[in-house]
Symmetry: C2
Subunit: 332 residues, 2 copies
């Protein structure tokens, strides 16, 4: 059978553009033993995929030109030559950007969608929520009464990290890029304060004013000048988790900035670069708590859903212009 | 009685100069109850004192203009109105740069100089050795077979940190500023390799060649471009302890450099700013191990000793031009 797929047509310079992608029709192979034919329902698009569009970093698995992009997805099993899955099952896996695909049954995971919205398995109950939980609880170890700042606060990870910090008794300040997001963080998600960095001339002074006792924990999703502003307000013994650097992913040269090591030294700061994939043994505990909090109504979540397979490139590009609130998902 | 003292005459811009200090004669007060009259034997001069010569950093206890500099010192008790110390005792404490001084008996510590050279209590058995031990063992937690790079390798802390890492079974590479120091590190102190950064055009490439399996632990005493070169060679799950930033202490503006957070993120690096004063509960264990290793001949140490009280400013300034090997001490 034939399927549409979206491939990487050329490597982007700076923010990816529609022209860096190409849609084409291909013929799928027959499914073999231990394989399934899948019809994706939802695709997750995530900032970290941007790094994989370059071929400069040997430590990141780069996408190949003329080969399909890929990402976390939920899919329905249409046909099965697998002992594990039967037609009708819903599975989670990393899949190519195709309307249909043939996949090995290894690396797929059946999900039970009777308790929560199905898409939550790509968000608050997926790598997004797990990232927020482990980055905060296992790395930053926040204490009640401490002040936490989260950048990219209205993004998928930020919105969860901020709420979990509130559940730990922290004072939570979000940095975000629009007044709409700011109102949502404070009004709906219980953040104590939020700063719209786009309308704030001196973000470092705004943080100093709002965080009058300094910053104890910084959950960093964005990097760049926003991080400079937060780092200048860090307390002694503060902790910084570097979860993302979305402000820098599109740079074509190594970005320059103020050297931070003297601040880390003077304040005895711990800074940890954080790839959730290196913490798999902690996943079950994270999922346990996230599920419980959702069930108890203590943890809320938000999605921005684009409709239609063809919207995958636009949804992905939108991550870098800040169009999404919460998790960006494409419904095929 | 009268004594000479050396005061901060003016705040330095850049590297301190002799003119920033002034020697003067003052009259000491009579000693009161719980006080002692001390005659310093050795003064330690340390890079971190440079930060205290500025008045810009609220988190560092700044020296006052026209007031004496101070530092760790070993001194003989001359007269005593204290129940704790008697004349002839040798004590360790933080003392003003004076030939004689009157001090409270609080904060002084009696030392037993029968086992090791007295000056070792300012070096390998003092904060220097303790800093190397805790920075390495408690923060970097090196494993046998890992590759460790130490900058400022022939400095007081570096020379100890490198040897302790060797005792843990690490491959140890030192970065230093002269061929004489390089030969000493490899020939006398058992470093596996050393790099003279002053005669090496591309330090990052030299590290990449020597550390063919990458860098697992970076013990940073210097900061700046040398650190940039090491950081570009860090492995996944590597650890960086920021113990000093001597290359930057004399900057008059916040130094700029390549942003490091993306590297920390991509490599899941832990970076810890480290002030040994925040780890006092770990001191006894550090001293225990250091003493044992010295006794067993496994840990060697080196001092650069300037003779004469008047040499204090020159010795201190020499730290920033790299004249010292190992611990810089002034014998009064």
């Amino acid at each position: 059978m034939n399927t549409k797929q979206i491939v990487l047509a050329s490597r982007p310079k700076g923010i990816p553009q529609i022209k860096n992608f190409r849609t084409e029709l291909i013929e799928l192979p027959e499914i073999k033993t231990d394989e399934v034919l899948l019809k994706p329902i939802y695709f997750s698009v995530d900032p970290y995929l941007r790094s994989r569009m370059n071929d400069t970093k040997p430590d990141i698995q780069a996408f190949h030109i003329d080969q399909p992009m890929e990402g976390s997805a939920l899919a329905t099993v249409i046909e099965s030559e697998s002992d594990i899955f039967k037609p009708g099952d819903i599975v989670l896996g990393v899949l190519p950007w195709r309307e249909y695909t043939v996949a090995s049954d290894k690396g797929l995971q059946k999900v039970d969608a009777t308790q929560q919205p199905l898409s939550y398995f790509l968000g608050v109950l997926g790598l997004t929520g797990i990232t927020a939980y482990i980055g905060l609880m296992n790395i930053c170890k926040p204490l009640a009464g401490e002040t936490l700042v989260v950048s990219g606060a209205a993004g998928a990870v930020g919105i969860v990290a901020g709420q979990i910090a509130r559940l730990q008794g922290c004072r939570v300040v979000g940095i975000t890029g629009s007044d709409e997001k700011l109102r949502l963080l404070v009004g709906k998600y219980g953040f104590d304060e939020a700063i719209n960095y786009k309308t704030t001339t001196y973000v470092n002074k705004a943080i100093a004013t709002i965080c009058h006792d300094g910053v104890d924990v910084y959950f960093d999703n964005v990097g760049g000048q926003i991080s400079d502003a937060v780092i200048s307000n860090l307390n002694i013994h503060s902790r910084v988790v570097i979860c993302g650097q979305i402000a820098l992913y599109n740079n074509t040269e190594i970005p320059m900035g103020p050297r931070i090591q003297q601040t880390l030294l003077a304040k005895n700061v711990m800074m940890q670069g954080f790839n959730v994939g290196n913490y798999k043994s902690e996943f079950p505990e994270a999922i346990l708590h996230l599920t419980q909090w959702i069930k108890e109504g203590k943890l809320d979540f938000q999605e921005t859903i684009y409709e239609g397979f063809d919207q995958l490139p636009a949804a992905f590009i939108g991550l870098f212009t800040g169009v999404n609130i919460g998790k960006m998902i494409v419904k095929v």
